[in-house]
């Protein structure tokens, strides 16, 4: 048992408990300091994660693994948590909600996601998934006197419980067929005994459970309502970190435990990927609320990332990782801009963005950069990520020609998506404004937005370090 392998998670949990303690001592007017304490405290888990980088160790009876894949995801979650906390400070200060518990729960959710990226045993996977989900249910319902927030929390809880049941059922079937809960042992048992119908049923149920987590069609129906009702920084957190954590699990479970059953799940992810990106993009066109628009857009992006699983090669996996990082930075940037707008104007309607470029030039520019990056327009990160992922899937098509169709579907979808992203940009720059009153932005939001946009541009212009890190991480699964 090597406790130091858990240092990043333990330091996050300690930080969360310290925050709750400090919360009791702080007078009401100094509560926003809690956000800055949480932010500075993130240095510890980040430092420990960097310290563990380069190791490849398994501990806790095979339940925990620290490898480059886990490190990649852990750093991604920490970046997301830092930006979410920074963009929450102003948002949370204005609402009648307990701030200490808010930041503590964000940190605890982050530690749960980091555990999800590191677990290698079905029981630990289930518990860490449930730990993360329950924390996020609470955060979604955090604005108690707001009906939409309560509705979001309740819907998320009920559908999440349903998906957990499917996941557990699949895990039980898998255990019944293979006699083990450790992913590598499941793989060797499946390799020896062959794939029977119950094993296929088990992996399908597990895919359903994870499908809810990453909001793939047809398990996506919770996403728009939850994204709309939850506090906006939590929506941002859900749409990037929670989704990436789900992908970390899907990757590890399917590319290790179910690798012998590859021929059953490759077509499954092909279909899921195609319908997810198509439905997400088509429904996004008609949205009038920008949070719902980004909800459907995030469903579509999950569809693009799933292409990597339909190909299941080292190249496609590193493509997924680069895409997830680019998407995290870009989507967070877009959400931070939306937080900046809604805390001043109090609206999420796209019509209210008319003429925003004259009222808040910097915010409009940042939002435009992020939306164009989501659409995949150079020189932003979204462009590089799309090219890299699509090219990797295209390469994999040499052995599996059906993937050519998937790449074509993805390209068509990218073209559709340009329409609704540009529609918002057009509203900001070319539509007449109702008022000329200019909108200010607070310091925290300014820093968060600048950091996210800088990330989008840096990854877009100089992607080599990210690609190298992703390639090393992908080698864990496909040596």
């Amino acid at each position: 048992m090597n406790l130091y392998l858990l240092l990043p998670e333990i330091s996050l949990i300690v930080l969360a408990v310290v925050l709750i303690g400090v919360d009791l001592l702080l007078p009401r007017e100094h509560k926003p300091a809690l956000g800055y304490i949480a932010l500075i405290g993130l240095i510890f888990p980040a430092y420990f994660t960097m310290l563990l980088s380069g190791r490849n160790e398994v501990s806790f009876s095979g339940a925990l693994v620290v490898d480059q894949l886990a490190i990649f995801f852990k750093l991604l979650f920490l970046i997301a948590a830092a930006l979410v906390i920074l963009s929450s400070i102003e948002y949370v200060r204005r609402l009648p909600i307990p701030q200490g518990e808010y930041y503590a729960l964000v940190l605890l959710a982050t530690s749960g996601m980091m555990l999800m990226a590191s677990t290698r045993d079905l029981i630990s996977i289930y518990i860490s998934l449930e730990f993360t989900s329950i924390t996020l249910y609470i955060l979604a319902a955090f604005i108690r006197n707001d009906l939409k927030s309560s509705e979001a929390g309740l819907k998320y809880l009920l559908l999440g419980a349903l998906s957990s049941a499917a996941l557990l059922y699949g895990m039980a079937l898998t255990y019944g067929v293979t006699g083990s809960t450790v992913l590598n042992d499941i793989a060797s048992a499946l390799g020896e005994r062959g794939i029977n119908a119950a094993a296929v049923l088990g992996l399908v149920f597990i895919a359903v459970g994870f499908g809810f987590k990453i909001a793939t069609v047809p398990f996506h129906m919770w996403a728009p309502d939850v994204y709309e009702g939850a506090p906006t920084p939590i929506t941002a957190f859900l749409s990037v970190a929670s989704k990436a954590a789900g992908f970390a699990l899907v990757l590890r479970v399917f590319a290790t435990a179910f690798m012998p059953a590859e021929n059953t799940w490759l077509p499954m992810f092909f279909v899921l990927s195609a319908i997810t990106m198509t439905l997400g993009n088509v429904v996004a066109i008609r949205q009038e609320n920008i949070k719902r628009l980004l909800a459907y857009s995030s469903i579509a992006h999950a569809g693009y990332v799933l292409m990597g699983l339909a190909a299941a090669t080292a190249g496609a996996t590193s493509g997924m990782l680069v895409y997830l990082l680019a998407y995290t930075l870009t989507n967070l940037g877009a959400f931070i801009a939306i937080i900046g707008f809604s805390t001043r104007v109090g609206s999420d309607n796209i019509d209210d963005y008319n003429g925003l470029s004259r009222r808040a030039p910097m915010l409009s520019l940042a939002l435009a950069i992020c939306l164009l990056s989501l659409a995949g327009i150079p020189p932003m990160a979204g462009f590089i990520a799309k090219i890299y992922l699509f090219a990797a899937v295209f390469d994999a098509a040499a052995t599996n020609p059906a993937l050519y169709y998937l790449v074509i579907i993805a390209l068509l979808n990218s073209a559709i998506s340009v329409y609704y992203y540009v529609r918002v940009v057009k509203a900001m720059y070319f539509a007449p404004a109702e008022t000329e009153e200019s909108l200010g932005m607070t310091f925290g939001l300014r820093v968060a937005l600048s950091a996210a946009v800088a990330g989008v541009l840096v990854v877009g212009i100089y992607p080599t370090p990210v690609m190298q890190a992703a390639q090393v991480a992908a080698q864990v699964l496909f040596p």
Partner: protein, 165 residues
């Protein structure tokens, strides 16, 4: 395990468990639903005893049939308002849900009855509480510790969402 008494006991427990679980979903009076849920939990404890897991059976009764049920009944008692008289909310999708449930059951029954399961050695009859404790605190210590943090989160969440301003 092929003792006819064991098979009969299993059949009775399984039927009671499934019928009471169905009653939880289908009955209108929510207090009746809660009581049938307790019955379902008790039959699960019976099945644990059939599997020689006596400690697990005791825990099942203490935690589920005891603590969880009391909590549930208190929640029902404290949240009842005039007008909503102890009713399971009406639902107009029962028909569709029934079709899906029956189809899923058919698929599962078809697949699972034709599967050759990996069966271990028959469970030992000596007390297994110590082995359970060792498994929990040695082999499964990671999920155990994560569960403890999960309980902390649940407590914080309950306080935040339920407290009066």
């Amino acid at each position: 395990m092929n003792d006819p008494v064991v098979i009969l006991a299993f059949a009775v427990l399984a039927i009671v468990m499934l019928v009471s679980a169905a009653a939880v979903v289908l009955l209108r009076n929510i207090v009746h639903c809660a009581l049938f849920l307790a019955l379902s939990f008790l039959s699960v404890a019976g099945i644990y005893i059939l599997l020689n897991a006596e400690f697990l059976a005791a825990v099942q009764i203490l935690i589920y049939a005891g603590a969880v049920m009391i909590l549930l009944l208190f929640a029902i008692m404290l949240t009842q308002r005039a007008g909503a008289i102890a009713e399971n909310p009406p639902n107009n999708q029962v028909g569709m849900a029934a079709v899906v449930a029956v189809a899923l059951f058919g698929l599962l029954a078809l697949v699972l009855s034709g599967t050759s399961w990996l069966t271990g050695a028959p469970a030992a009859t000596q007390p297994n509480t110590e082995a359970l404790g060792r498994a929990l605190f040695e082999y499964y210590v990671l999920p155990f510790e994560i569960a403890s943090v999960l309980l902390l989160v649940a407590m914080i969440g309950a306080i935040v969402i339920a407290r009066e301003d």
